[in-house]
């Protein structure tokens, strides 16, 4: 999907895997020209699944994640260990506004592209570096994966059953959070340049700090109340409210019952209006003290009902109840269909695949269909040949030498 908001912005994208590529996808979806620069053997995410067939080709051109994260980008290949590769990257940077990268700190400089030197050479350029721990600090060069990131950032400790090990969040959610901070950081640098600074800067994003930033219940609330939040099983936390995931007849439903009004409506839903004036439950404080007894009553009611019934009847009473879907059900949810949220890409390798569309609707504008993610080196001719004037003979020579 493309909007025109950033149509005058040129991005050179050296990033790989998730955090960098999702940041540049956000920029591309908003209209920026993103030139994705990969090594001749392709960036690592091309080898990540999911793949449509059990026996994928080796090495694979791309999997489903790569296809989703790299829509709307132009793809070129360059070997930055070679002089010609470095020279062509330098020429791409001449009229770029942004260089986005998520190498380990120091890697860019090792390729001969030290951020300070680039900023001196190209005053309008800003560099956004997204890294595990930031560009400095004692753990700068340590390894990181999703399990460690969630745990260290505070997301994991309060999730799961009290009498067993904490439960990690799924997937790579925190890397996407880091990507958003990276994309915002890119536009912050552009805004600073265009609103008076007149020049670019090197933006430093730490995935760990991005993860901590979204965990304010732990860090700030802990200091205010002086108590740690412990795992509370199906409950979001122990407190004067009921935010719970409850088993029902055909799956699970989420309930968010916090205010007196929502509690009154909940009592009506379960046909027990006397509970609203029951001294065990008639104030927020009492509902906290007697939470187990109250939850037992609500749980039993949910267990005998279907998700959709609970959703309809709950929402009709202004109680936030939702029928918890699996990802396949999200694809078929009437609300996403009515809003044409999912987008079908006609991927040259994977075929037709439905992927999440951009969440932004600018002036209710309906975006054009997305361009599929580039095949490896797909736009070498267009970018190096037409734009930078590399001759067909030289391009062919480069292809043979695998410099690009």
């Amino acid at each position: 999907m493309r909007y025109s908001a950033l149509s005058d912005v040129r991005v050179v994208d050296l990033s790989h895997f998730i955090a960098g590529p999702y940041a540049t996808k956000l920029l591309a979806d908003m209209g920026a020209e993103v030139i994705k620069v990969e090594p001749p053997w392709g960036e690592g995410a091309r080898r990540l699944g999911p793949f449509p067939h059990a026996a994928e080709s080796k090495p694979p051109e791309r999997g489903g994640l790569f296809a989703f994260l790299n829509q709307n980008k132009l793809g070129v290949t360059l070997d930055l260990k070679e002089a010609r590769g470095r020279d062509l990257l330098t020429r791409l940077l001449e009229d770029a506004d942004l260089l986005i990268e998520n190498f380990a700190p120091g890697t860019l400089a090792a390729f001969g592209f030290a951020p300070d030197e680039l900023l001196a050479k190209f005053p309008r350029l800003s560099i956004v570096s997204i890294s595990n721990f930031g560009q400095d600090g004692p753990d700068r060069d340590s390894r990181l994966n999703d399990l460690v990131l969630f745990a260290r950032g505070g997301w994991t400790y309060p999730v799961g059953e009290k009498d067993r090990e904490p439960l990690t969040p799924p997937g790579s959610l925190a890397q996407y959070v880091g990507a958003l901070y990276g994309a915002i950081g890119a536009l912050q640098a552009l805004a600073a340049r265009d609103m008076g600074l007149g020049r670019g800067q090197h933006v430093d994003i730490s995935l760990l700090e991005a993860t901590v930033a979204t965990m304010i219940y732990e860090t700030v609330t802990f200091q205010y109340v002086g108590a740690m939040r412990e795992r509370a099983g199906k409950r979001f936390a122990v407190g004067p409210f009921m935010i719970v995931t409850l088993k029902c007849r055909d799956g699970y439903a989420g309930l968010h019952c916090v205010t007196d009004k929502q509690f009154e409506s909940l009592c009506d839903l379960i046909g027990r209006s006397e509970l609203y004036i029951d001294p065990r439950f008639n104030t927020a404080l009492q509902r906290m003290v007697n939470n187990d007894a109250l939850l037992a009553i609500v749980e039993e009611f949910f267990l005998g009902r279907e998700r959709q019934w609970l959703y309809r009847e709950g929402q009709a009473r202004a109680i936030p109840i939702v029928p918890i879907p699996n990802v396949a059900e999200v694809l078929e949810w009437e609300q996403t269909k009515a809003r044409n949220y999912f987008e079908t890409i006609d991927d040259p390798i994977l075929g037709r695949v439905r992927v999440p569309g951009t969440p932004l609707r600018l002036n209710s504008h309906r975006p054009a269909p997305a361009r599929p993610a580039p095949t490896l080196g797909q736009h070498n001719g267009e970018i190096f040949g037409s734009r930078l004037g590399v001759s067909p003979t030289q391009l062919e020579q480069m292809r043979k030498e695998q410099v690009r």
Partner: protein, 416 residues
């Protein structure tokens, strides 16, 4: 120039809770002047969140979460049920660049504050609306909060232990901050476009749609395989060990992940478990996956005798993926986070000094500033109306007498 916006951008923030206010907070970090508008009756419901203190304790000024996501804003009160309150919002919108709102769909229309009306007053105005599920569609009026948005995005359905069907909500109401981050990104893009076109625009951001991309990989996979795999808990599809293990003492949980055979041999060595590395059940990744329960039991047995700090030190010194599962104090004292001085100390009226999360993006030439406190209810009403709207002290006093503004809550209410 010291900040991104250098005071050249003004934001009118009508939003409540977390997602919308986070947008305003991030604008304030960039040096925008952010005017937060609240009603003395329908004030931001996050002021009541997590607090059960009695009224004389001023509980609405003691909300940890409100005081975090409203930092750096000016606080103004206006009754939007009163026509003069709505009129004043229009006058503020006339001198603002951005308006943020996250009411349910249709509420701004009922106030007479729809984008068409506001754009007629100020064509340069950019307005962002952030409903939970969208402003149209059959389910647009369903009520959603961070956790229920997270569920409808498909995240909750992926969150569970490998050996139980119970699903769990995440610990941080992820739908809220992600909605706020996308909202900030959208506004930055719209400001960039306005510099070129001279015109504002209306941005709609459904919070659930902002979160669904985070599970895009699983959504694509469900189409390729035609099935949805159950949650994997702390385990990995291919690697083992990959989990959370109990160390010596209370609340001492260790994450450990080995992504190769070499990782596993090094981990066994570091923990003094060389015999595990040569155990035929654990030689290669496929072996370890096949005997994962036995492997986890061996690790738990050994780690029960090792202090958490010691285990983390040994494993990370060997270059392995390991860390403490940080509870709140661990996050606040994490050496890497501390070395980069991430948290900022802020002295806020009523509650005193605490550490708050700092700005994430480090912009060395125009640093973000997350160190200004959240406003008290109506703290800046007089100053803002005098300076921005040229109102006299008498006019401002009349507003307060008519209940259009104020600094005391008209009633106490709870979070929703």
């Amino acid at each position: 120039m010291t900040t991104v916006f250098d005071g050249k951008i003004r934001v009118l923030d009508l939003s409540m809770g977390w997602a919308g206010p986070l947008v305003g907070q991030m604008m304030a970090e960039m040096g925008a002047e952010v005017v937060k508008v609240e009603d003395t009756e329908h004030f931001d419901w996050w002021r009541g969140s997590l607090s059960v203190a009695p009224p004389e304790m001023q509980p609405i000024e003691r909300s940890s979460v409100f005081n975090t996501v409203n930092r750096g804003k000016l606080g103004v009160t206006l009754d939007l049920a009163n026509p003069s309150g709505v009129e004043l919002v229009k006058r503020l919108a006339a001198v603002s660049d951005i308006l943020i709102e996250n009411y349910s769909p249709g509420v701004m229309d009922r106030f007479g504050l729809d984008y068409a009306t506001l754009a007629a007053i100020n064509p340069r105005l950019i307005m962002i609306s952030m409903p939970s599920f969208g402003s149209n569609g059959p389910e647009c009026n369903a009520r959603g909060y961070g956790n229920t948005v997270e569920a409808m995005a498909g995240v909750t359905g992926l969150t569970g232990y490998e050996d139980s069907e119970q699903l769990y909500t995440l610990s941080n109401a992820l739908g809220d901050p992600v909605g706020g981050l996308h909202g900030t990104f959208a506004l930055m893009g719209a400001l960039h476009e306005r510099a070129r076109t001279g015109r504002g625009q209306w941005i709609e951001l459904a919070q659930v749609e902002a979160l669904i991309p985070f599970v895009g990989q699983a959504i694509v996979e469900s189409q390729f395989t035609g099935e949805v795999l159950p949650p994997r808990g702390n385990r990995h599809r291919e690697h083992a060990p990959h989990g959370i293990y109990k160390c010596k003492g209370e609340n001492t949980w260790l994450v450990l992940a080995c992504e190769s055979d070499a990782d596993f041999r090094a981990a066994a060595e570091a923990l003094g478990l060389a015999q595990l590395a040569s155990d035929s059940r654990f030689l290669r990744a496929a072996d370890r996956k096949a005997h994962e329960a036995a492997l986890d039991a061996e690790l738990n047995r050994a780690l029960a005798a090792i202090e958490l700090d010691d285990a983390v030190r040994r494993l990370t010194a060997a270059g392995l993926l390991a860390a403490a599962v940080n509870p709140a104090p661990g996050v606040l004292s994490d050496p890497q986070i501390a070395a980069r001085e991430y948290f900022v100390a802020i002295d806020r009226a009523i509650v005193g000094t605490h550490l708050y999360p700092g700005a994430v993006a480090r912009l060395p030439k125009t640093p973000l500033d997350a160190s200004r406190p959240a406003p008290l209810l109506g703290e800046h009403t007089s100053e803002v109306f005098r300076r921005l709207l040229g109102m006299s002290d008498e006019e401002i006093a009349a507003l307060e007498n008519h209940g259009v503004t104020g600094t005391a809550p008209r009633r106490y209410k709870q979070a929703s």
